[in-house]
Amino acid sequence: MRVEIVGGGPAGLYLAILLKRADAGVEVRVLERNAPDATFGFGVVFSEETLGALRDADPETHMAITDTFARWDRIDIRYQGRVVSSRGHSFSAIARRRLLGILQRRCHSLGVALEFGVEVEELPEADLVVGADGVNSLVRRLGDFGTKVEPEGSKFVWFGTDLVFDAFTFIFRETDSGLYNVHAYPYDERMSTFIVECPRETWLVDGHADRSEEETLAFCEQLFANDLRGRELFSNRSIWLDFLKVTNRVWHDGRVVLLGDAAHTAHFSIGSGTKLAMEDSIALAASFVRRKWDVETALVDYGLERGGAVERTQSAASESAAYFGRVGSYTQLEPIQFGFNLLTRSGRITHASLGVRDPQFTRALDGWLGGAEVSPPPAFSPFELRGVRFRTRFGLRPSGFVAVSPEARITHETPAIDDWKAPAGQVLLQLGHAGARGACQPNSVGADLPLAEGWPLVSPSREPYGPFSPVPGAPDEAAIRDRFITAARRAADLDVAVVELDMAHGYLLGAYLSPLTNPENERLRFPLSILDAVRAVWPGALAVRLSVTDWHPRGNSVEDGIAIARTLAEHGCDLVHVEAGQTVHDDRPEYRRGFLTALSDRVRNEARVPTLVGGHLTTVDDANTIVGAGRADLCLLDLPPRQVERTLGASNSLLLAEVRP
């Protein structure tokens, strides 16, 4: 068995070690373009979990690596002149150069052939060729892997500094042209990695495109002079770059296989690139041992084994990259909430899991939200909305769709406002007009199944909603507006705390908002006229239920939805109830637990309006994390009532909202 590995980075060298270790008879050669001590980038990060895998795979390198590690368990977030610290995050880092030295020595001792300064131009002859040659892999370009390479996240530039940080440090610096941020961490006793990042618009405004390497360094040194405390930045071909996200449909093509960055990249902001690369090496070597060196089955195994884990990491990394791209919209958050939002950005840390690692942090967050040093978690913190004081963030009881008139009903069973009775503790009255989704069979049969004998429907569109739905006619807008006004007036006589107007899911007002269902250009005209009219007669808290995106290529995008939310807020909407899709029946929804959370985050922080969010939230921890991070103000939990009772103990009065006199 002869193996040629193209690329002498951590992935290639570590694979060589593991293959040779598994069977000394295997001929392994590593071909590296650069000199043995040339390296780009300063330090690399490992988590505890990765270290465990390294220990099991090859104790010798594990020991050498961990001997020279910089370790920390703290994350510092420097933001608006404050430092928010969180403990309990075990990380280690090592100088990339030192890591390569350790791996090279281990290769030598095992009898791996290392050749430096070799420029590979065509695939070497061997039983197995490994492309471990990085993000711009030549091996990848010579094969057929279904490669996609696309820029992701903000602009960044990678420096070293002789300031030794004592924690993983995020620094945020506001400038006139936008927000800059830094990811910094120590990697040995003398040096730290220092990555500067800013959104593309900021990068353009500040003219970085025309700056030389020296000028870029000088700019960053000056911008972060306070944080660097007189220390220097060091360049290593440090210029502004786009992070390139690499994905491949398959990782092997015949006898050629991709490893590490050549196969997949994960945005640096979750520090997983080297970890993924070395885990690839472990999986590939293990597949060869398991499959008794049969190349084809081993490569299939490798792809199947790594695919899921890599995809999950890449998706968390993309979430994180997107977070840093829009972090400028979070600058209204208090430092402690800003910090919690950052820590929970990729969904891998929650309020409960952080509480185990760092109870002090969650106590401080709970205390800030609760207004007392010892406070219950975020979901139990009070919230006020136009005179309505909520005792918890998940106690709101929605009425379900209440039609403003009989012909506005969805089914025969839908209550119309005239015969709707407010149940005790009912706080959210959801008023709507079914539009093209009216005259349907009962919900127990299904949704959007037309009645054999219905009633005439109206919509701004002449398109039927779904298969077999009737063609809707033109709405009498003045009459419908009057129905909404009468309904809102009636709410004042009922025990109702919040009135909500339904502008979501393709019901009448939702249909007006979308280009999919409204041919006119002034699509907000009629819904806004209703909001204004209701605002004028209903003095209490007023919410709007909104499909923030249509989940359809020709429909409203998230950006469109955020702009609509902003306009609604300007017209006196106090709370946006975040929904998505159903504007048309054949949209492309993305269902999972918490599928509306990211949308709510963007509406709340970009349109700066309080939000209510559901989207299949199944634990109180979901609500704690969402409210704690400022992704929504109120949540609707998908919990069986018994579980809510258990959570709240005997005092289920916590569920009730109270209206201030």
């Binding site: 199947l304 919900n443 779904g466 054949d586 269902y591």
Partner: protein
Amino acid sequence: MNVGVGLPTTTPGVTGELLLEWARRADDGPFSSVAVLDRVVYDSFEPFAVLAAAAGVTSRVRLATMIAIGPLRSTALMAKQAASIHGLSGGRLTLGLAVGARTEDYEAAGVEHRGRGRKLAQQLAYIRGGVDGHRVGPAREGIELLVGGMSGQAFSRMARYADGYAHGGGPPRAFESAAARARAAWGDLGREGRPRLWGQGYFALGDAETGNDYLRDYYAFTGPFAERIVAANLTSGRAIKDFVRGYAEAGCDELVLFPTSSAVDELDRLQEALA
């Protein structure tokens, strides 16, 4: 959680007699359902024909398609077939429908592959909604309707028109994640309660290699993924027990175990493993 068993309609060497024997013995056993797969371009029995025959030799078990590829069939005729089996069996039909995974089935049936999702939505609305004014009898009331598939649209079709979700197989963790998506869709479409969740797995308790060879062949169209399916074949009583427990914990309502060989003694072994 209920446990059902698949009929070996796609395994090598199966005969009509053997299928009826499987169905009879499943009905006598502890199983709550018998289920069939659907594939056109393969040496396999047609699912509705088999369920019609099974209706005649069973009295208790539910009869399920897991799943039938709806868009291959004419909507009114499929509705009539399904309703007929439902009537023949005294109301025991569970009709699982999906768009399927193979274009060659569409080519063989002479049906456009494009637009299959739209057609399935239309079929579901037809079957569930009674939009034909019930002129195409027999009555379809009470047919349990399931939808399979992994796309967001599959989940919204399920929640809009059906009673539950038919999962395509995999480890309990994969089922759990699909179940969460199904429940999320169900709530989003404003349906009451929760969707019924059906899962499935493969087993070979006699000659495992024969079963594995069949799976390799049946799933050859998936490329390297076939090996993953082979690796998941449940070949010991212990594996069956762990799998059943995993699915129960993941919230499955009905788990159907499909044989990978035609031998009837597989059914006895499965019964032993479940005891």
